[in-house]
């Protein structure tokens, strides 16, 4: 079979991208860009004048090749058939990020802030490029359908997400991972085991088949679809039971994706709190990333926290598989014995090991050598980079002084005292602690802004790390827009009957309890 469609689609996508580049770089769009910026600096001009140009040229060339030549059956044909769909996702992600999301933000600002929340509606509902990209995907697949030339490419979105998660490994410091890792092991241990136990218990109570209860418990407890697939052989689940489970997970995942960020904004949660909650309470890995980026679209601190929790959860998968195997054999005397070790080795998600590999590489300093950080920005002489204009002003120091008593942790009190005394952050360690004060939101917004300013004055990010952040942002934007194109109403309708009821009770309990625990435990961590 020949997979690549002889179609002008990719060529046209390339032309659209080149048109965006041309209009933006020639100044023809200046008026519109000024409107989108809404009085601020438009953040995406650099992206339009580079990404749209590069991808535009590539797409026009490959598009012309696909349009005018006849593909031959084979491996190359199969993989080349994915290019048009992948570029279709990228085009949608670009349009949403560069134009639709800023337009929605502009509209929302015109409507004014919402009541006592003090927030604009687009902030409150998380209507940013991530959520709007997913919504665009859902609209396209359910109302317009994915064109035949794009079908294969749309199935690359999960590959994009996995690549993004692996690259995320480059952004953690050992201290961050140790700090978050301990917390995530406790939280995930409790909630994963708790939800697996609760699903199995409810399944017994409602007398659903053991295979159904087993596969549903893995999906509800661990990491959604991957866990369902890994657990299915050990509990000998039938196709229809897997379908019910995946449907239930999808239904919950999509609902969480939209509801979690709104709750997070309403409760004014910190990045760490929200990341921990999303990583614990949302069932499926992709939706965890989506919710984290929806909560904080212009940075990846929340995503980093959420992914640590998510990866910890994936690492628990072997324990759950062993548990379910033992549980199932005990209940079903005639069950065929399955080689659990083999199943675990076959089904364990290897991309998690990739994340750990890149994290290990990054701790050696290859991507951000320590010399980049020392002296230059924390020294106090002109030679070492001291700039008087970057010192905090008197009024800013007064605000910090008046709020310093709100800080409870000793290390934070000391770091902020040194900042007040010197009007600048004095060391890399202090910088990390001050960032923690900002993220914990223990001070007023005004004081938070001052601390951010002090942080920016000394921040120096390695060029390599900056580039990794860009790659990660785009891989997730691509993956999540494509994910939206895979969320069909019919796939969610697969959820039904008792499995959906059990899933709803367990999903809601996990989300509510983890929210309480996060708000209670993580008031000032990190």
């Amino acid at each position: 079979m020949v997979y690549t469609k002889k179609s002008p689609a990719l060529f046209i996508i390339g032309l659209i991208m080149l048109a965006m580049w041309y209009f933006a770089s020639s100044g023809m769009m200046d008026g519109y860009i000024e409107h989108l910026a809404a009085g601020k600096k438009y953040k995406y001009l650099g992206e339009i004048t580079t990404l749209a140009l590069y991808f535009g040229i590539i797409n026009v060339l490959i598009g012309a090749l696909q349009w005018f030549t006849t593909p031959k059956q084979g491996e190359w044909d199969y993989y080349s058939s994915t290019i048009a769909g992948a570029m279709f996702i990228l085009l949608v992600a670009m349009l949403v990020r560069w134009f639709v999301a800023p337009e929605v933000a502009w509209l929302s600002i015109q409507m004014g802030k919402v009541g006592e929340t003090g927030k604009y509606i687009h902030k409150l509902l998380g209507l940013n490029y991530i959520v709007l990209g997913i919504v665009a995907g859902i609209i396209i697949v359910n109302w317009f359908h994915i064109p035949a030339w794009a079908e294969n490419g749309v199935r690359l979105s999960r590959l994009g997400l996995k690549t993004g998660v692996i690259l995320l490994g480059t952004l953690y410091s050992a201290a961050e991972l140790a700090n978050l890792g301990g917390l995530s092991i406790v939280m995930i241990g409790f909630f994963v085991l708790g939800s697996v136990w609760m699903t199995l218990w409810m399944g017994t109570l409602m007398k659903i088949p053991n295979s159904m209860g087993g596969v549903l418990s893995a999906g509800m407890g661990v990491c959604g679809v991957s866990a369902t697939v890994a657990a299915a052989p050990v509990v000998q689940a039938k196709s229809v039971e897997i379908a019910y489970t995946i449907g239930t997970i999808l239904l919950w995942g999509v609902a969480s994706l939209f509801v979690f960020p709104v709750v997070g904004q309403l409760l004014d949660m910190s990045y760490v709190q929200f990341g921990a909650w999303a990583g614990t309470g949302i069932l499926n890995s992709a939706q965890v990333a989506g919710a984290a980026l929806a909560f904080q679209p212009d940075g990846i601190e929340t995503l980093k926290v959420a992914e640590i929790f998510n990866i910890t959860r994936v690492l628990v998968l072997p324990i759950i598989v062993i548990w379910l195997a033992m549980w199932y054999v005990k209940r079903e005397e005639h069950a065929t014995k399955v080689n659990v070790t083999e199943v675990m080795i076959q089904k364990f998600p290897v991309f998690v090991l990739g994340f750990l590999l890149l994290f290990a590489l990054s701790t050696t300093g290859v991507f951000a050598p320590a010399k980049h950080y020392k002296g230059k920005f924390f020294g106090n002489t002109v030679e070492t980079g001291f700039k008087e204009k970057k010192l905090l002003k008197d009024d800013q120091i007064e605000i910090l002084k008046s709020e310093a008593s709100k800080i409870q942790r000793a290390d934070r009190q000391e770091a902020v005292s040194r900042l007040i005394e010197n009007r600048k952050i004095m060391s890399e360690a202090d910088d990390a602690v001050v960032r923690g004060v900002v993220n914990a939101k223990v001070l007023s917004k005004k004081a938070g802004k001052i601390l951010k300013k002090a942080h920016k004055a000394v921040r120096h990010q390695s060029k390599k790390i900056k580039m990794f952040r860009k790659w990660i942002t785009w891989l997730f934007a691509f993956g999540l827009t494509g994910l939206g194109m895979q969320i069909t109403f019919s796939s969610m309708k697969q959820a039904g009957g008792q499995p959906a009821l059990i899933g709803s009770v367990v999903g809601f309990t996990k989300a509510a309890l983890s929210l309480i625990v996060v708000l209670w435990l993580i008031s000032e961590t990190i």
Partner: protein
Amino acid sequence: MSEEDEVTTFERGSALSIFTSDRREDYMALTFALIIAFWVYVAY
């Protein structure tokens, strides 16, 4: 029982992926990530 059995509407791979197994997709993601990391390391 595999994911492919469940959701197949495609001759190769599943509705979620072009790859014949999750493991293969993981290896591809790892390969891409390492290529990107190497490129960033060399070029920046």
